[in-house]
């Protein structure tokens, strides 16, 4: 028993012109239509939903990501750890290694104030102990206070005046760790995004524009946007395709 073909025989199609073939195909299609095949199909996911789905992408970290930020707003992104101890701060050697081995770095001014270090050194550490500027003695003030001392006979008052006018030379500041060559307790902020951390970039949108949250994830989003603005969808930055898709989506809304 042979099965009856549903469609007309098309074995002679090689002899047809393209237009004849098209008409033949249309006739076949109409036969299927007469048999119940819909002449139109509607996508289950509407175009609007497709667009919005761009907002649903997530960035998942398969390994730790660490970000070092300095007071100039520079940032280094890598995976190394930087040792930190209370009372000492960050281990300088680790900071140096982190910078040297960073996967990405961002120039000064890239990191917004939200993520800058809490404390920044006013001046760089110097080993020049002979510098006269290091000895901060207010001669005029001391002279006035000395006059005051001469007019009083109470030791307590004298002590107070002497303490107030005590010059602040580095030689006298035994508690100052700023110049510790091994550790630094200011000038850097260090952020970590742990392995398997998931970031939904759309969580950092507000009213159709970017509004990174003031946390580690927000810093990552901020740097991602900077990366995207400079490199587009160039692979390398974690989750860049997700960021780009949202940037493109936002572009269609404006």
């Amino acid at each position: 028993m042979t099965e009856k073909p549903i469609l007309p025989d098309t074995t002679e199609s090689e002899d047809r012109t393209p237009e004849e073939s098209r008409i033949a195909e249309r006739r076949q299609l109409l036969m299927l239509g007469a048999a119940g095949l819909p002449m139109m199909l509607t996508l289950k996911a509407s175009a609007r939903e497709v667009l919005v789905s761009q907002l649903n992408c997530v960035v998942n970290f398969t390994s730790r990501l660490r970000i070092l930020v300095d007071c100039d707003g520079k940032a280094w992104v890598g995976t190394r750890n930087i040792k930190y101890e209370d009372g000492k701060g960050f281990k300088v050697a680790d900071i140096t290694k982190f910078k040297d081995e960073a996967t990405y770095s961002f120039p000064a001014g890239d990191v917004p104030n939200n993520w800058l270090p809490d404390t920044c050194p006013i001046e760089e550490c110097s080993n020049d102990d002979d510098d006269d500027d290091d000895y901060d003695f207010d001669l005029e003030s001391a002279s006035t206070e000395l006059d005051e001392l001469m007019r009083t006979s109470l030791p307590a008052q004298a002590d107070g005046i002497m303490l107030a006018s005590k010059p602040k030379g580095k030689d006298d500041d035994d508690e100052d760790d700023d110049c510790d060559e091994d550790w630094i307790d200011s000038g850097y902020a260090f952020y970590e995004l742990g392995k398997n951390t998931t970031i939904t970039p759309a969580d950092h949108l507000s009213g159709g524009s970017w509004s990174p949250q003031n946390n580690n994830k927000g810093l990552f989003i901020t740097l991602s946007l900077i990366y995207e603005s400079r490199h587009g969808e160039t692979p390398g930055w974690p989750g860049i395709s997700c960021i780009v898709s949202i940037v493109n989506y936002l572009g269609t809304q404006n």
């Binding site: 249309r26 006739r27 299609l29 109409l30 239509g33 002449m39 139109m40 509607t42 996508l43 175009a47």
Partner: protein
């Protein structure tokens, strides 16, 4: 009591400004702005939309035009198929009956 006109008796129209269409090998991808839906139309269904977007036509007129435009006979393009396709397009909003607006 007057019977409501059938789909073939109604006059159909379409606003081409409400959709975007791209052809891929005799198939048309149509994005309908008001609904935000995207539809795949074959030559027949798109032929209907295209025809009534230029001139309002009744179902019967449409049937004749389609046969002429696509070099088809009545047996190759049955009225029932045109009727059902008009119904699908109407449901999707891609075409609408002029009679409904009266």
């Amino acid at each position: 009591m007057v019977a409501a006109p059938s789909l073939m008796e109604k006059t159909w129209t379409s606003d081409s400004g409400q959709f975007l269409a791209v052809e891929y090998d005799d198939t048309y991808l149509v994005y309908f702005k008001p609904s935000g839906d995207t539809h795949f139309l074959n030559f027949l269904s798109f032929g209907i939309v295209d025809a009534v977007s230029k001139t309002a036509l009744s179902g019967t007129e449409l049937h004749e035009k389609l046969k002429t435009d696509f070099s088809l006979t009545s047996s190759e393009l049955p009225v029932a198929l045109v009727t059902s396709t008009i119904g699908e397009l109407d449901q999707a909003g891609l075409i609408s009956s002029v009679d409904n607006s009266k």
